[in-house]
Amino acid sequence: MSVVNFVGARERCSSSNLIERFKGTLRRSELQGVFSPGELVAVKFEAGERDNLKYVRPLLVKAVVDAVYSLGGQPLLVDTLSMGSKASEVGRRWLEAVALHGFDVTSLGKSPMLADGYTGEEELLVPIEGDELGGVEVARAIAESQALVVISHVGAHPFAGLSGALVSCGVGCASLRGKERIHAPLRPLFMPDRCDGCGQCEKHCPHEAVRLKDDKPFLDEKKCKGCAYYCTAACPIGAVVIDGYMTKRFQKRAVDSALAVTGALQGKVYYINILMDVCPYPDCYPFSDVPFVPDRGILMSRDPVAIDSAALDILNESSGIRGSIADECDGLESSSDKLLQVTGVDPRDMIYYAKKLGMGSSDFEIRKA
């Protein structure tokens, strides 16, 4: 049975300070068995796209860095590039976002860096056996580390259902090329009956793959890289959609990649799921919307299946926030399947596939600090 540690978000007095409880739980957790003193420990955080307001705060990332230091590890703070910019721009955009979001050597005690290089092409191909991908391009700095701590900001994910440990490890630790292959099955479908021809999808596509003809969008298949979020996120009326068979493949590929990442690190991976500011979109979106579930706390585990299952259970148990997307999707009830209702994608498919690949167990015990 897997162990998932949990610290609740409520802070009733100075001595129940969340950061202190988080750090203390981390130090006592199975994290200490993940690496030996002196080893290089990649700490994967998500800097968040520029203009996103709900990214994980530097203070929480600093707590992880401190815990790694206190256990004798050498932390290496890394993030990877998101899809959708030119090679000459992409690293620069990340650096600007990192600066704006307050992740720097003064706040973290260590300068953050791009694990897949300035253009996202620095990688190590790791072969695996999975349904979708024969091998995955893992960001080089992560593949070169001796252990990995994945900090995930839990929220809804439009293609995976749940953005948690599996997605952050699989998609987040892949290089840009790896991400492109994971996203490859995704292709936007333009709903002609809903589309009013506003042209936002054409304007926002970074690859110039969408062209408007007679006020109707058309996709250039050769140019489309499948990031599928600039066009879908650009549409104000939900006329750009992704089909279910595409998202199923995306889920599998994300898990395949997560398997490659854990393989590259010989299983020396630790997962931290932050269940705070739970939003409808992941942090790689340039907006965040309001949270739809109240802050719950932080989960920690060595098992990505257990930790994502636990996160899913906790979110579904919670009542939704009035006025949020949960309200629009009939997800206010404390037993509603919120992530499925918000995204239309069932995260259980992804978790089940990961379990099938032997990545972890859905039989777990939550230990409250």
Partner: protein, 473 residues
């Protein structure tokens, strides 16, 4: 008489252990400055931020070296300087926000140093602690910058160089002026001491020498006074002695634009040095016995202070780093070393050639470049109990062995081993090999790339002395 020990390592370096950074770290322990710091102590590291456009300030790495060792001793360091007075019309450090912009421009940031960077006397320079100085020769009180006064320990980390008023700026000056708040600095400048006529507590004025509105700098001159103490009109120069608090701004403006109306009298300088030693004593009184260590980098020894917004060629070649627990002994040792050193070719010495015949090795260099000997501050520091000028100079040579090479490196074991491990996973060099190049047999002859005789060009160089020297060997 007991001699205070001053440790010294020279500026030469030919290997890892001889890096000035490595030697500074060694000296920190040789001089037992680590004994000043107990675990948990708040430790002020007092440096000079340097004025905007000043290039001969300390480099951040030289400061970070000491920050790291203070941390290693369990101290909680912060690097600080204080607000200045308006020393010239474009002063860049007299309030907190300008001071921090200037510090950042010189690379003194939390990111580069690894600890907070603090303006020790607050935004406006009024945050201070008043200290009685019973042994003071001129000053009987000092106004010490609050962050320094409240710190548990201090490393007085000076840049040794000349100074237009104090003649020399070393460890005494780094706290004697640098540790004072704004009003402390006016106090130490001897503002309103005596009467306007004696020229000691006010600028030495020669209104008859003012060119009035004909002076091309008269507007700058008027603007240079932060108190609006004087103005220039068709009747010449008007001065309100009550308003003036002697910040030197008008004097610097007048003198450095080549004029002689607002100047100093020669007797001002010795008194300023004596007052500075008193103020330094005031700073030391805010610390318990044995809680202050003094270090100085004697490199880039410009004839003028880091508070001057330009830098010229040094007085002497780089000398090295010094450490001691006595601020007077360390300054005395540095001054002796500077005087004993040869003159820097083409430096301040050359500028003085026509006037005074320059200075010879062994002469009091700052007495010649600045017009006043810097030794008044040393003697005053002995008389007011700041320290002892009798010193024993302990030269330090780092051991050259594997262990010591490793001591101050970025990682304790050779980092090449990291690369070796990385190439085991994926070797980009072998993936690219063989590189596309001209076949080895067809390699060009490097003889074809030899440059010809350059004398023709050297003789035309704009530095006449150098051009004339070509071919004379």
């Amino acid at each position: 008489m007991q001699k205070e020990k001053v440790w010294f390592a020279d500026a030469n370096a030919a290997n890892w252990v001889e890096s000035l950074v490595a030697k500074a770290k060694d000296l920190f322990y040789e001089a037992k400055l680590n004994e000043c710091i107990e675990k948990g102590d708040s430790v002020a590291i007092k440096i000079h931020f340097g004025e905007w456009n000043r290039t001969r300030c300390l480099r951040p790495e030289l400061v970070a070296a000491i920050v790291e060792e203070v941390k290693a001793c369990g101290g909680r360091p912060f690097v600080c300087d204080t607000t200045t007075l308006t020393y010239h019309p474009y002063s860049s450090r007299f309030i907190g926000n300008l001071a921090l912009e200037t510090a950042t421009r010189h690379g003194f940031t939390e990111a580069s140093l690894g600890c907070p960077v603090v303006v020790a006397d607050g935004f406006s320079g009024d945050d201070d602690v008043r200290v009685e100085v019973p042994t003071g020769i001129i000053l009987k009180e000092a106004y010490v910058a609050a962050a320094i006064a409240h710190a548990d320990a201090m490393i007085n980390l000076a840049h040794a160089k000349g100074h237009p008023v104090a003649s020399f700026g070393g460890c005494i000056k780094n706290i004697g002026i640098g540790g004072q708040s704004k009003r402390g600095k006016y106090h130490e400048h001897l503002a309103h001491w005596g009467s306007p006529e004696d020229f000691l507590g006010w600028p030495a004025r020669h209104p008859e020498k003012c060119l009035g509105l004909d002076c091309p700098f008269h507007k700058l001159c008027e603007d240079s006074c932060p108190r609006g103490a004087y103005h220039i009109d068709e009747h010449g120069h008007h001065f309100d002695a009550e308003k003036c608090w002697l910040c030197y701004s008008c004097q610097i403006t007048c003198m450095f634009t080549g004029h002689e109306c607002m100047v100093f009298t020669p007797d001002y300088f010795p008194y300023a040095q004596i007052a500075m030693a008193d103020a330094a004593k005031g700073v030391m009184l805010t610390f318990k016995e044995g809680k202050v260590g003094h270090m100085a980098y004697c490199i880039d020894v410009d004839p003028n202070c880091d508070c001057i917004p330009w830098a010229t060629l040094p007085v002497v070649p780089d000398i090295g780093v010094f450490a001691s627990k006595d601020p007077v002994a360390i300054d005395a040792a540095i001054l002796d070393m500077i005087d004993a050193a040869p003159a820097y070719p083409g430096g301040a010495n050359k500028a003085l050639d026509n006037v005074q015949g320059g200075y010879k090795q062994g002469q009091d260099k700052f007495a010649i470049t600045q017009g006043t000997s810097p030794r008044y501050q040393i003697t005053a520091g002995v008389k007011n109990g700041l320290g002892n000028m009798e010193y024993e100079l302990v030269p330090y040579t780092p051991p050259y062995n594997e262990e010591h090479v490793a001591k101050w490196q970025i990682r304790p074991t050779p980092t090449t081993l990291i690369q070796r491990e990385m190439w085991k996973k994926r070797d980009f060099i072998l993936e690219a090999a063989p590189y596309k190049r001209v076949p080895f047999e067809e390699k060009p002859s490097y003889e074809d790339f030899k440059a010809g005789d350059r004398k023709e060009y050297l003789k035309k160089l704009p530095v006449k002395e150098w051009a004339d020297a070509v071919g004379k060997d």
